[in-house]
Structures are given as structure tokens and as C-alpha cells.
């Protein structure tokens, strides 16, 4: 089969997946979720914010990672207020900040301009005092959208909603005629897999680009790092969906695919979390070498949602604005974490699961 025919087959399978998604209402539901998030982003408004640092300075205002990282003007102002006299620089700046944040009048008397800005959501129905400058608030929303909505809820919904695509496609009464065409079974399987990935990828791109545009239009913050979540989310989905493919080939049951994928996702979380915790326990109370080897082996042969979360956190440059969650810190401790290896091993897992599925489908009698 030549390359042109392969691409023609692939194109047909991708188009078929889009039609299937549209007909089953999945496309509509995903677009609905995106529309809600876009409206939410369009409802955002920011007022009276203050630029706390120059563009060439680190975004972190308080607390500083090291004294030179603090904007010099801020340290000067705090110092002259008399509030830092009895405390060290690092802790003092935190304490001073906390004291002044709640007493803007006192701060103003001391010559410190406190932030009085507000971010409102739902067209002003809900408002939050802004902790820092508008870029931070937008970044917070982007983290919430990419990690919380798209990365967790969206990923799960995409897995559940697309779980029925392959079992329907492989059902004996539907697949027999397909399999009697001059196209390899593995090509049909991989074509359908790529079709689903293309569909989900399209939805992710739509979600990210539209929410990015909406936030940008409302806040004038155009942060391109948010776009990193497109390949990262798609990779996570690709790994989890490859297991769904294996289940679909083995059982041809939508129910098995839905529950199996969810179980696999939970198991992956458990294994990833367990391996991180095991790493954390190594220092004070070393685990038996067998347990360590087992958790490490399990870690390498399963998807890594926590790793993916950390990679997303780092890709979005979120450590500049937010405290890194404990599990991420633990994962990075000891400098053994390699994002490249983590991503590569996830890709290998997807490849192995797909190869197993193709082998199983090839051996199957219809």
C-alpha cells in the first residue's frame, strides 16, 4: 500500500471520527464546555491594578527567593516604614506585607502604595481582591483552566466520551466489511486512534486559543506560555486513550472501555503518587530495596499524571507566581526527575499499548 493510499485512508478515518463525534453529541458537549469557559473568560475584568515590577525583573514580588530578587524600590519603602527593624529581611517582608495588606490606610501613611485592584468574574457578580498584578491573576485563571478544567475534568470527560468510538467501530457487524477491504487491520486501528487524537486535539486547541483570546481581550495580558498546555494535554490523553484502544480490541465493549480507562487513570495516579512518596521516604526511613524497585518499575511502565502536572506547572512558568505543591517539590527533590524522560516513557507506553492492540486485532477472528 503506497503512501498516498495510506494518507487517503487516514483522512477518511479522521473525517469519520469527526462525523461520529458530531452525531453522538460529543462534539457539541465539548464545544459547550469550551463556550462556558470562554464566556467565563470574557466576563473577567481587572481594575486598579499596579505594575509591581519592570519587565526585566522577576515577577515575584513578595516573598523573595533571595534578597536581590526583590524589587529594590519596594525594599527601600518597606525599610523606611520602620516595620523591618526587628526582623530579618525575608520574614520581615512577608510579615510586613501581611500587616499592610489588611491596613491600606496605615500603609499609605507609611508611604507604601498597596494594591487595591480587583478582579471580577461573571460580569462583576463575583469579585476578588488582586493579590498581585493582573498578569498573576490571569496566570492563576490559566492554571485553573489548563490544569483544573482541561487537564483533569476535561481529560476525564474526553476519555469517557470517546471510549465508545472504537468498540462501535470494531463491532463484528460493522467491522467485517471494513476488514474485508485492502487495508491492514493495524492501519485501520492506528487510523482511528489518530482520528480520535485529532478530534480531541482540535477541541483542546479550540479551548486554549479561545480562552487565551478571551482573557487577552479582557485583560490585555497575552501570555503565550499558556499554549504549552496543548501538546501536554494531548500527550496525556494519547497515553490514556491507548489503553482504551487495547480494551476496545479485547472486549469490543463500550462499558469496559469507559470503566477500564477510568480505572487505569486512577491506577496511574496511585502509582505515580506512590513512587513520589517512596522517593520522599528514602531519606529518613529507607524503604526495602525490593519495594523501591517495584515502585520504580511501576512508575516507568505506567502513565504519569503527576509528572505531567509538574511539567505543565513548569511550562506555564507558574513557580514565578505560586507556591509549588508539595508533591511537585518532592518529585523534583534529589534532582532525579527528568521531564524529557518522563514524556518519552509515556510516549513509549502509548506505542507499546497500541502495538499490543494491533497484534490482538490481527489475531482476532471476526
Amino acid at each position: 500500500m503506497n503512501t498516498r493510499r495510506t494518507f487517503a485512508t487516514l483522512e477518511q478515518l479522521i473525517r469519520d471520527t469527526f462525523r461520529q463525534a458530531w452525531a453522538s453529541g460529543i462534539s457539541g458537549m465539548m464545544l459547550g464546555v469550551t463556550a462556558i469557559c470562554v464566556v467565563l473568560c470574557l466576563s473577567v475584568s481587572v481594575s486598579s491594578d499596579v505594575v509591581l515590577h519592570r519587565s526585566d525583573e522577576p515577577a515575584l514580588f513578595l516573598p523573595p527567593p533571595s534578597p536581590p530578587a526583590v524589587a529594590p524600590s519596594v525594599v527601600l519603602v518597606l525599610g523606611s516604614s520602620g516595620l523591618l527593624q526587628t526582623l530579618t529581611l525575608t520574614t520581615a517582608s512577608q510579615t510586613a506585607w501581611c500587616s499592610l495588606e489588611n491596613k491600606p490606610d496605615l500603609a499609605r501613611r507609611e508611604g507604601i502604595e498597596t494594591i487595591t485592584g480587583q478582579m471580577t468574574l461573571a460580569f462583576g457578580a463575583v469579585s476578588f481582591p488582586m493579590a498581585r498584578e493582573r498578569g498573576d491573576s490571569v496566570r492563576f485563571l490559566e492554571l485553573l483552566l489548563s490544569g483544573g478544567i482541561a487537564g483533569s475534568l476535561g481529560l476525564l470527560l474526553a476519555l469517557v466520551w470517546t471510549a465508545g468510538f472504537l468498540p462501535t467501530f470494531l463491532e463484528a457487524s460493522a467491522a467485517s466489511v471494513l476488514l474485508a477491504k485492502p487495508v491492514g487491520r493495524w492501519q485501520l486501528l492506528v487510523g482511528k486512534y489518530i482520528g480520535v487524537l485529532t478530534f480531541v486535539g482540535f477541541q483542546v486547541v479550540l479551548f486554549v486559543v479561545l480562552t487565551w483570546l478571551a482573557l487577552g481581550l479582557r485583560t490585555n495580558v497575552w501570555d503565550m506560555t499558556y499554549w504549552w498546555c496543548i501538546p501536554l494535554l494531548l500527550l496525556q490523553f494519547a497515553v490514556l486513550y491507548s489503553f482504551s484502544v487495547l480494551l476496545a480490541v479485547a472486549t469490543r465493549s463500550t462499558v469496559a472501555c469507559v470503566f477500564g480507562s477510568l480505572l487505569f487513570w486512577l491506577l496511574s495516579w496511585g502509582i505515580n503518587y506512590g513512587s513520589v512518596m517512596a522517593r520522599g521516604l528514602e531519606e529518613p526511613q529507607p524503604l526495602p530495596s525490593f519495594t523501591v524497585a517495584l515502585t520504580q518499575a511501576a512508575y516507568w511502565i505506567s502513565p504519569k499524571p503527576i509528572d505531567a502536572g509538574l511539567i505543565l506547572f513548569n511550562a506555564l512558568d507558574a513557580q514565578q507566581h505560586f507556591e509549588k505543591p508539595g508533591v511537585f517539590k518532592l518529585l523534583e527533590s534529589g534532582n532525579t526527575f527528568s521531564p524529557q524522560l518522563s514524556l518519552l516513557s509515556s510516549l513509549v507506553i502509548a506505542g507499546v499499548l497500541l502495538a499490543l492492540s494491533a497484534y490482538e486485532l490481527n489475531a482476532k477472528d471476526y
Partner: protein, 250 residues
């Protein structure tokens, strides 16, 4: 040497019995015969005789446990020969969200039919099979008979050298059955091979040149319809059901 449209040599197929570990079901037992090009060949037999399994083996849907099978003179592993084969499944389920036209475009692309030929051929086939007025409608709204007509259109799409029909009369009304017979005769006229599996003996008898009867996975009869119908005692013609009775009981 004549290249057979299909050839089975000592083909056996054993399935693992579902939900019964260790138990097996022998669907085919050393079946050997050939189908010549240009003939209409019928495969008959009672339920669970192995007819559909044999078709599936020929189409590569099912792997034989032993024996050799060739399709259009080439081994089964040569998948490219499937581009010259049309297959109508006994109980076809098409995606309900597709229209008849989109469905045929989809299958046509998979069967390597060039786009320039495909579109006019689809229109002609839908016209021939009486589906032209419903060509853009979702298949979900089709009746069983219409789905069967569409399945037949799909099987004919590649203008196949070997047309394999599994219970094609199922769900067809009288006009549909007549149309089917007409199409089979037309295929024969064009020098194409047709392999029909059916339990509607009378209708198959009217169109077939030769037939094979499978009973419990074994080839129980192979020959022409005329010799099957010839009464060995009187030399006269006997009804098909009477002729098949002793074979089915064998």
C-alpha cells in the same frame, strides 16, 4: 492453467468455545474445493454448518487452523486482492450518522477506487438499487430492506471480480429479491464470480451454476444443481428439499 477465483485445500477451523475454557468447536473439517472464475457458486447447509466461517476465511476475517486458501489465485496474505472482492455481510450494521453517499465514499476510498470514478459510480449504483432519492439521508432512518440494498451497493462498488454474498435476500422485499437475481445474472454475464451463501434454497437454485453443501463443517456435496436434483432411483428430477434431506442428515 485456470486461476481459480477461490480455492480451499484441507481447510479446518477450530474455535475456542466462548465461556467454556478448554472446550473447542470445530467449525470446518478439511474442506477442499475450488470456485471457477465466472461461475455463480452457492454454499448451502443447515444452521451452524460452517458456511459463514468459510466465507470469513476466504475474506481474511477469520484465520484457518490448518489448510491452504487462495483468493483470486493469490495467497490470503496478499491483501491487495481484496480490492477486487466485494462482500455483503449477512447482518450489516452501518454507522447511522452517515448518509448513503458518504458511506459509499468512505468504503470506496478504502477500496482504492479513484475519486474521479467513485462519484459517478456511487450515483449510478444508488439509482440502480432504488436509493437515489434517499442518498443524502442518514442511514439511521433506513429500513432493513434499504440497508440491505445499501450493503449490496457497497459490495458492488469496486466492480469486483469476486462478489461474496452472505444471506443477501435477508430483509429484501420481492422487488429487492428480483433485483438481486438480476444483479447476480449480470455479474455472471460480465464474467465475474459470485459466491452466495443462503438458506433460501429455491432462490439460490435459480441462479447458481454449482453448489457445495456443508454439514457440520464437512463438505457433504459438491457439484452442479442438475446432478443434485437428479433422482438416482428414477433418473427424473426431484425437489431441492428432497435432494438435500439425505445430505443434511448424513
Amino acid at each position: 492453467m485456470l486461476t481459480l477465483a477461490a480455492e480451499f485445500t484441507d481447510v479446518s477451523k477450530t474455535y475456542r468455545a466462548p465461556l467454556r475454557p478448554g472446550r473447542t468447536v470445530q467449525a470446518l473439517r478439511e474442506v477442499s474445493f475450488g470456485i471457477e472464475p465466472g461461475e455463480v457458486f452457492a454454499l448451502l447447509g443447515p444452521n451452524r454448518a460452517g458456511k459463514t466461517t468459510l466465507l470469513k476465511v476466504l475474506l481474511g476475517l477469520c484465520h484457518p487452523s490448518s489448510g491452504r486458501v487462495s483468493r483470486l489465485g493469490r495467497p490470503l496474505s496478499e491483501q491487495s486482492t481484496l480490492a477486487r472482492v466485494g462482500y455483503m455481510h449477512e447482518n450489516q450494521a452501518f454507522p447511522g450518522y452517515l448518509s448513503a453517499t458518504t458511506l459509499l465514499e468512505f468504503y470506496g476510498d478504502l477500496a482504492w477506487i479513484p475519486a474521479s470514478i467513485l462519484k459517478p459510480r456511487i450515483a449510478a449504483l444508488l439509482e440502480r438499487l432504488g436509493l437515489a432519492d434517499r442518498a443524502r439521508e442518514p442511514i439511521a432512518r433506513f429500513s432493513k430492506g434499504m440497508v440491505q440494498r445499501l450493503a449490496l451497493a457497497q459490495a458492488l462498488l469496486a466492480e469486483p471480480d469476486l462478489l461474496v454474498l452472505d444471506e443477501p435476500q435477508e430483509g429484501l422485499d420481492l422487488s429487492g429479491r428480483l433485483l438481486l437475481q438480476e444483479i447476480i445474472a449480470q455479474q455472471r454475464g460480465a464474467g465475474k464470480t459470485v459466491l452466495v451463501v443462503s438458506h433460501a434454497l429455491g432462490e439460490v437454485a435459480q441462479v447458481c451454476d454449482r453448489l457445495a453443501v456443508l454439514v457440520q463443517g464437512r463438505l457433504a456435496y459438491l457439484g452442479s444443481l442438475a446432478s443434485l436434483l437428479r433422482d438416482p432411483d428414477t433418473g427424473g428430477e426431484r425437489p431441492l428439499t428432497t435432494a438435500l434431506g439425505p445430505i443434511y442428515r448424513s
